[in-house]
């Protein structure tokens, strides 16, 4: 029987639709032409210029500092939230789940505006603190969902076995629970890191003067017009985020 080529064609079209723009961007970041309409030779100039720009370095520093703090905060909170969702029996458990899950589906712009109004109402000065708090707010949900997934197929008789063999709660957590859940928690943390690094909408609302992150910098560069630099920067950002996501997926698979 002859196999239809329709599925193949559709697959190629969908993939092209998804990834062609990104490919164009990556290719253009090596294009000597300033406007990217035509290929005028291979160059690394844009990357060189990019790395010489103090503004870029500043934004990069901001982004990573915020991402690291937000990742640590959301990993701790998200992991404990996952435990609470998995272990406690309460009539309100469905509501709790919804509360943790909601930030994943609430429009980002809504989150951004409400956080901004909240900070203004509390008279908190916009800056590093507000960005970190905002990032933790939405990253917690992602971490909680990833860790919860791992907890749901965790064999709790292992914890009983540890207690049975004389381990108290702390020793059980240190010697059994954490080592076995570490890949799941690490995967959640990497996901949180990625989300924090490339968040634009929420950061846009809660950032203050001098706390420009990379995505915000890219946006202002578009306004002031230097497309090749944006291409180069986006390519680098793409590299960082895809690597982290790939690492996180690998950790999850290994844990299974």
């Amino acid at each position: 029987m002859k196999r239809s080529i329709t599925p193949f064609v559709i697959t190629v079209l969908v993939l092209a639709f998804f990834y062609l723009p990104i490919c164009v961007l990556v290719v253009n970041s090596f294009n000597a032409s300033r406007f990217g309409g035509e290929w005028s030779g291979f160059t690394l100039d844009w990357y060189r210029k990019l790395l010489k720009s103090p503004e870029i370095w500043h934004a990069l520093g901001n982004t990573f500092a915020i991402a690291v703090v937000a990742t640590i905060g959301s990993t701790v909170l998200g992991t404990t939230a996952a435990f609470a969702l998995d272990r406690y029996r309460s009539r309100l458990q469905d509501a709790h789940y919804l509360l943790v899950y909601a930030p994943l589906v609430i429009p980002e712009i809504l989150l951004g505006i409400s956080l901004l109004l909240f900070f203004v109402a509390l008279k908190v000065e916009l800056g590093y603190v507000t960005i970190v708090v905002a990032h933790v707010t939405f990253c917690v949900s992602y971490v909680a969902m990833v860790v919860l997934g791992r907890l749901q197929d965790f064999d709790w008789s292992l914890v009983e076995a540890a207690q049975d063999l004389g381990a108290d709660a702390f020793t059980t957590a240190r010697r059994v629970l954490l080592p076995l859940l570490a890949p799941g928690i690490a995967a959640g943390a990497l996901l949180a890191f990625t989300l924090s690094v490339d968040d634009f909408v929420i950061t846009f609302f809660v950032a203050g003067p001098g706390t420009t992150t990379l995505p915000l910098r890219i946006y202002s560069m578009i306004k002031h017009g230097s497309p090749p630099l944006i291409n180069a920067l986006s390519t680098l950002l793409l590299l960082v985020t895809t690597t982290t996501v790939w690492l996180s997926q690998r950790l999850l698979k290994e844990a299974k």
């Binding site: 064999d155 292992l158 009983e160 063999l165 004389g166 381990a167 059994v176």
Partner: protein, 393 residues
């Protein structure tokens, strides 16, 4: 009051279900004790109370005279072999066995020495550094045993440890467990739903049903003199007859009036009087089947029957028969002399014979227990002889 382990009026309720209902039970030191019953009978809850994973709502649990009801699991001198062994997948065989002493902060060298001894005992020295997913089911059980015994517990709890193994391996591990018990001499409490495991290993068995204990005794007592119809039906199989006492013939025996049978007699250990309603149980293998009329004796009941079905089972043959109003199961071993006779076949008219002392008087079984019976009691005209019907007017 000298029992090593004591459950005193222990109860535990989950929602509306009484998982354990006012159970009192004593287990002796060094004994291989088995809790046997269908799933949901409360045997695992009882075991988990002993391990410390469950607290009773009311009642006390004592170990060696000390109340341990509120003691957390890590402070009890009790170790457990879990149903799926619960070995730590992130640790090697050696690290698994060393877990208890390591957590207890015993000196490293001492721990190593004892782990080596344990590895030798379970013949796993060559596999010490393997990961848990690299060893077989039988080896896992041995590691679980070593991991528990290295802590020198006063009691070893076994929660259906053989359930995960296939038949042949189960038989081998059964023997190994028995040998381990003989070697270490500590008290074993073994939970199972498999009567074969309980009967072959245990010194004493407690048969549980719906949260309470039906009978405690040596395996032979449980099998030969069941005290309730649940025990008679759950351990092995039973034929049940319903009738009234017609006459108390002597101190130990009564004559029964059962529809369709003439003058059945049975052992009367319940002190029944004339006119009492009774429920008579006779095990299938206690009934002899023959073509020729057996010699009538005062100690034997005799009845006529017609063969409905013959099921050859290798070690024995199961006959389904019709006799009076009843459909009966009879098991016959293949003795050599039988080969010389014509084999009994479908629709043959045969004689049944059993010793009067092989019938026990029991209470009427609960309808809900019928699902657990290998041979559900049936009367003729209530469906097929296959064990399916469960209605009984």
């Amino acid at each position: 009051m000298s029992d090593f382990i004591q459950f005193e009026n222990v109860s535990r309720q989950y929602g509306n279900v009484r998982a354990v209902d006012d159970v009192s039970l004593g287990i002796r030191k060094g004994e291989f004790f088995s809790l046997l019953g269908p799933s949901g009978c409360g045997k695992t809850t009882l075991l988990r109370m002993l391990a410390g994973f469950e607290r009773p709502d009311t009642g006390r649990v004592l170990l060696d005279g000390v109340d341990i009801t509120e003691l957390p699991p890590e402070r009890r001198k009790v170790n457990t072999i879990f149903q799926n062994y619960a070995l730590f997948p992130h640790l090697s065989v050696r690290q698994n066995i060393a877990f208890g002493p390591t957590v207890a902060r015993r000196p490293r060298r001492e721990v190593d020495e004892e782990v080596d001894k344990m590895l030798a005992l379970i013949q796993m020295r060559d596999h010490a550094d393997k990961r848990i997913d690299q060893i077989s089911g039988g080896q896992k059980q041995r590691v679980a045993i070593a991991r528990a015994l290295i802590n020198k517990p006063a009691v070893l709890l076994l929660d259906e440890p053989l359930a995960a193994l296939d038949l042949k391996l189960r038989q081998r591990m059964l023997i190994e467990l028995d040998m381990v018990h003989d070697q270490v001499g500590i008290t074993f409490v073994f939970v199972t739903h498999d009567q074969g495991e309980a009967m072959s290993l245990a010194d004493r068995v407690a048969v549980m049903n719906a949260g309470h204990i039906e009978q405690i005794g040596r395996p032979v007592e449980i099998y030969e003199t069941p005290q309730t119809s649940f025990v008679a039906a759950f351990i092995g199989d039973s034929n049940f007859f319903e009738g009234v006492v017609e006459e108390v013939t002597d101190v130990e025996h009564v004559k029964l009036a059962i529809e369709g049978f003439s003058a059945l007699r049975a052992f009367n250990d319940k002190g029944l009087a004339k006119g009492d309603r009774v429920f008579l149980s006779v095990r299938p293998e206690k009934i002899r089947i023959s073509r020729d009329e057996p010699h009538a004796g005062p100690d034997y009941n005799i009845a006529r029957a017609v063969v409905d079905d013959v099921i050859y089972l290798g070690t024995h043959t199961l006959f389904w028969l019709r006799s009076g109003d009843y459909r009966l199961a009879v098991e016959q071993q293949h003795n050599r002399f039988v080969l010389d006779e014509l084999p009994i076949r479908w629709k043959d008219e045969v004689w049944l014979q059993w010793h009067v002392d092989d019938g026990f008087m029991l209470e009427r079984y609960a309808e809900s227990d019928e699902a657990l019976m290998g041979i559900p009691p049936q009367r003729v005209g209530e469906g097929d002889p296959a064990p399916a019907a469960n209605e009984r007017g």
